[in-house]
């Protein structure tokens, strides 16, 4: 009897207190991606991409018709919660944001500023800080979400995978964005998506797809400008230790060109103490393999290799100089983190320049040195098609 009461009470506890947040998989709408655009009335227009779980082929039995893999719903609202509510009203299943892989921000929206919406992405526990943030250039975020990507179940998944290919574009998650945004002497960036055309087999005409191209620069949560692809690759030197890059360099004297695949790279920023204007020194160090040699040089000869190495180093240095010039003069935005470095190396000096860091940064003198080591040139010395006498030994 006593046992009976105990078990009964436990059951009451379980039934009345448990299950409150139980939700079957089929009662949730999996949001794969969100697009944020500026609505006509100045509010935010959010578009979410919701995955449709296809009924498994076993159950349908026989000819299964092509079902949509995803669909979109949009709503215009003032802030995150407002949007959430308006979107939910259009859904028969609870919106589930934990699996969202990308947040796309339309160019208009980005230029207007993200302060109205960013907070909800960090405060709501069902949002992941690992979500990638990308700015869409040249088209609305909503339209980009509509693109059917051939590989993945939903295009957002495709985007996520694209982002994961490190080294090809700026990879920024919400977390990175928040950290950079909150840091002194550092400005946040995101990757940029652009529409691209592709021809699908069996279909007439071109279909719109997208490509990752360049970097968006933010200043106090507002988009200030873009970097192009080459500049982005220079920027990536500073993002993490560089994983990979492909470098093409012309050899001096019109001797041809070489292709180089970078396998690892390091950077080091040195601040030169107490100078005015500020002086920085960027040291780049990289390893890699030469994969293409469109010249008559025999690369088994170390002198020839030295020529190639110099050419490659010069190429990197030029690009880097161009990149630094652009962010210094055009945008006046320290996305690399020179300020952060100064703060670490010379806090006193930093305090004097912190308030007008943008101006100081624009005036700073930055020198670059590149140190490349070619580790592998392939098993052949000169190109195989060359005659013996054509080869420069």
């Amino acid at each position: 009897m006593k046992w009976g009461i105990t078990i009964g009470m436990l059951l009451v506890l379980l039934i009345n207190t448990g299950c409150w947040d139980r939700e079957e998989i089929n009662d949730i709408g999996l949001v794969m991606g969100t697009g944020l655009d500026l609505a006509d009335n100045g509010q935010i227009k959010a578009t979410i991409q919701i995955a449709v779980p296809a009924p498994s082929s076993q159950t349908s039995g026989g000819a299964s018709k092509e079902t949509e893999k995803f669909f979109l719903i949009s709503a215009v609202g003032k802030n995150g919660i407002d949007l959430d509510q308006k979107l939910q009203q259009k859904m028969s299943r609870t919106l589930f944001f934990s699996h969202r892989s990308v947040i796309l921000i339309g160019e208009d929206m980005a230029r207007k500023g993200l302060n109205d919406i960013l907070d909800t992405f960090s405060r709501n526990p069902r949002n992941r800080l690992k979500t990638y943030v990308l700015v869409v250039k040249g088209m609305k975020a909503e339209d980009l979400l509509r693109v059917e990507y051939p590989y993945e179940l939903a295009p957002s998944e495709g985007l996520k995978e694209m982002e994961l290919l490190l080294g090809e574009g700026t990879v920024v998650t919400l977390r990175d964005f928040f950290i950079a945004s909150a840091s002194e002497g550092l400005y946040p960036t995101t990757g940029v998506l652009e529409p691209a055309l592709i021809r699908k087999s069996g279909k007439k005409g071109n279909e719109k797809l997208f490509r990752i191209n360049g970097t968006a620069i933010f200043k106090s949560s507002k988009l200030v400008g873009f970097l192009n692809n080459t500049e982005t690759h220079q920027y990536l030197w500073f993002k993490k230790n560089k994983r990979t890059d492909k470098i093409v360099a012309d050899l001096p004297g019109g001797k041809g060109n070489v292709g180089f695949i970078l396998t690892s790279g390091k950077f080091k920023i040195k601040t030169v103490a107490a100078s005015d204007p500020l002086k920085f020194h960027v040291g780049l160090k990289a390893n890699g393999n030469m994969f293409e040699n469109n010249s008559s040089l025999d690369v088994t000869d170390s002198n020839n290799l030295e020529i190639i190495k110099k050419a490659l180093e010069n190429r990197i240095k030029q690009d880097m100089d161009a990149f630094l010039r652009k962010i210094q003069t055009q945008y006046k935005t320290d996305i690399v983190g020179f300020g952060q470095q100064l703060q670490r190396d010379n806090p006193k000096k930093w305090r004097t320049v912190a308030k007008q860091w943008d101006r100081h940064f624009a005036d700073a003198e930055i020198s670059v040195t590149v140190n490349l080591s070619i580790q592998n040139t392939g098993a052949i010395g000169p190109s195989l098609q060359l005659k013996d006498k054509e080869i420069v030994k």
């Binding site: 139980r22 998989i25 999996l30 498994s56 699996h99």
Partner: protein, 517 residues
């Protein structure tokens, strides 16, 4: 059950009366006819009672000898060759001499008892003895002439091995003792005999190696067995329940095995075995939780292989208890834990299913248990039918009909296999039982429920004691030297006994630490 039945039939109100008590006080008479009447009265309506009378050739009217035995227990050729022929041809009235002074001068029978008590005579007759009464003598000589009804020694069906002995215990106690004696040839192997059951008089032996076994364990066993009052036990299961005080026995506190080598190994490790007549199962005490995960074959394999196998068992023990509940918890509470693509394919599979995932899991688990139970009780000839029907119904048709989803089929079948990995089936039964409450917890509280359930199981298991030894020895209380036989199968070293690891496992040490009850 039997007690109640007996009460109803006879109107006898005392629960456990001694069936031969009414003869306990009666002494033998020296009149052979009177003895015959009494014995026929005792075995009233027992059609297999045989009374043979041998008369003097000259005094035909006066019986000289009465031989009484149960024809179904005694071996007829033995009776003739060892009793009837010697007695009827003997000129020196040898039977009389036997009962009197020269007890050593034996008849050809293997075993004999001289007694003048009716109660004892009746008991002996029921054990396959033949009682010989002599005219003018108030004592009877009982000769063991029992034939043994037994099957051959086969490979134990419940615990097959690839490498190891193929012998298994059978239903006859003497044979089982013989098998054990073949393994351990020392007089230190003691066999203390008990008889349990007022009606069944079942022989029970407590076997242990003197000096290795813990005295307090043997003592506890002796006391418990002696205190048993029951009309009969038919199998070790009944005895197990009577000697173990666990009100809610999910995990077994004794090990039941059919393998003589396992019992011999346990004896060498200082454990105590309980052999019961009429069953091939032998009980071993004390045991720990880990005993259930140690197959006897582990000790015949090379130790890296055996260690690997043990780890596989540990992993699958967890899967056997928690896999379905983990699936339920994660898919109905913590969808954010599942990788996106897996979540999408689970969602696709579940799209046509009308039930919540917990109901689905319970449904399938119960179906699986039903199939398993059907498989155990099944006559071999229709075994295939069930496996085909079961496989098709559960595996395919149910999924196609949209009743259940494919992931749950995978989870349930994995769980089913996992439970089979536990070498001792009594432990596996406990594990299978635990699965269901944990599914309920997972379905109502999610992973938090699983954590609660796991804590509950852990609390329950560590509180258990098998004859004074904590059930989780040597993990809790911890003993580094003994834990080698749990986490690994420690390699053997020359000069160290087989008994070493387990005896240090705290069977003794822990008892001295106040573990003994």
């Amino acid at each position: 059950m039997t007690t109640r039945l007996r009460k109803g039939l006879t109107g006898n109100t005392t629960a456990f009366d001694d069936p031969v008590s009414e003869y306990a006080e009666k002494a033998l008479s020296d009149d052979i006819n009177q003895n015959k009447t009494i014995i026929e009265q005792a075995f009233q309506r027992c059609s297999d009672l045989v009374c043979r009378i041998i008369r003097n050739q000259d005094q035909v009217d006066k019986p000289k000898l009465l031989i009484a035995y149960l024809g179904t227990l005694a071996d007829e050729p033995k009776v003739r060759e060892q009793i009837v022929i010697p007695l009827s041809t003997d000129q020196r009235e040898r039977f009389a001499v036997e009962t009197e002074a020269y007890e050593d001068e034996s008849m050809p029978a293997a075993k004999k008892v001289v007694t003048s008590k009716w109660a004892e005579i009746i008991r002996l007759i029921l054990r396959g003895y033949a009682a010989v009464f002599t005219d003018g003598e108030d004592r009877a000589v009982c000769f063991a002439v029992g034939g043994m009804l037994k099957r051959s020694i086969d490979e134990p069906a419940s615990e097959p091995v690839i490498r190891g002995s193929r012998e298994g215990f059978i239903e006859r106690l003497p044979v089982n003792v013989g098998l054990l004696r073949h393994y351990i040839r020392t007089p230190r192997l003691k066999m203390e005999a008990f008889a349990i059951g007022d009606l069944t008089e079942t022989k029970v032996l407590v076997a242990y190696i003197d000096g290795l076994a813990d005295d307090s364990v043997v003592d506890q066993l002796r006391k418990k067995i002696a205190s048993i009052q029951i009309d009969g036990i038919l199998e070790t299961g009944a005895l197990e329940e009577l000697i173990v005080d666990d009100p809610f026995p999910i995990f077994p506190l004794v090990l039941a095995t059919e393998r003589p080598d396992a019992v011999a190994g346990s004896l060498l490790e200082g454990r105590v075995a309980v052999l019961v007549d009429n069953t091939p199962f032998v009980l071993v005490v004390p045991v720990t939780f880990w005993t259930g995960l140690q197959a006897s074959e582990d000790y015949n394999l090379r130790y890296p292989v055996a260690t690997f196998t043990r780890w596989i068992r540990f992993i699958f023990l967890f899967i056997a208890i928690f896999a379905p509940s983990f699936f339920v918890a994660v898919t109905s509470f913590h969808q954010e834990m599942i990788p996106t693509s897996l979540l999408l394919s689970i969602a696709s599979a579940r799209e046509p299913v009308p039930f919540p995932v917990m109901i689905e899991a319970l449904l399938m688990e119960i179906m699986f248990e039903a199939l398993r139970e059907a498989g155990v009780r099944l006559p071999k000839t229709i075994g295939q039918t069930v496996s085909i029907v079961g496989g098709l119904v559960i595996g395919q048709a149910a999924v196609q009909a949209g009743l259940i989803s494919t992931p749950i089929v995978i989870v349930v079948s994995t769980t089913g296999i996992a439970a089979l990995l536990i070498p001792r089936f009594t432990y596996a039964n406990g594990v299978r039982l635990l699965r269901f409450p944990i599914i309920l917890l997972a379905g109502s509280l999610g992973l938090y429920g699983i954590a609660l359930g796991f804590m509950g199981i852990l609390l329950y298991v560590v509180h258990l004691k098998s004859f004074g030894v904590p059930y989780f020895t040597p993990i809790a209380p911890f003993s580094l030297r003994a834990v080698k036989d749990v986490w690994t199968r420690a390699p053997r070293k020359n000069g160290r006994g087989l008994s070493a690891p387990s005896r240090e496992s705290g069977v003794k040490a822990q008892l001295q630490d106040g573990g003994g009850e």
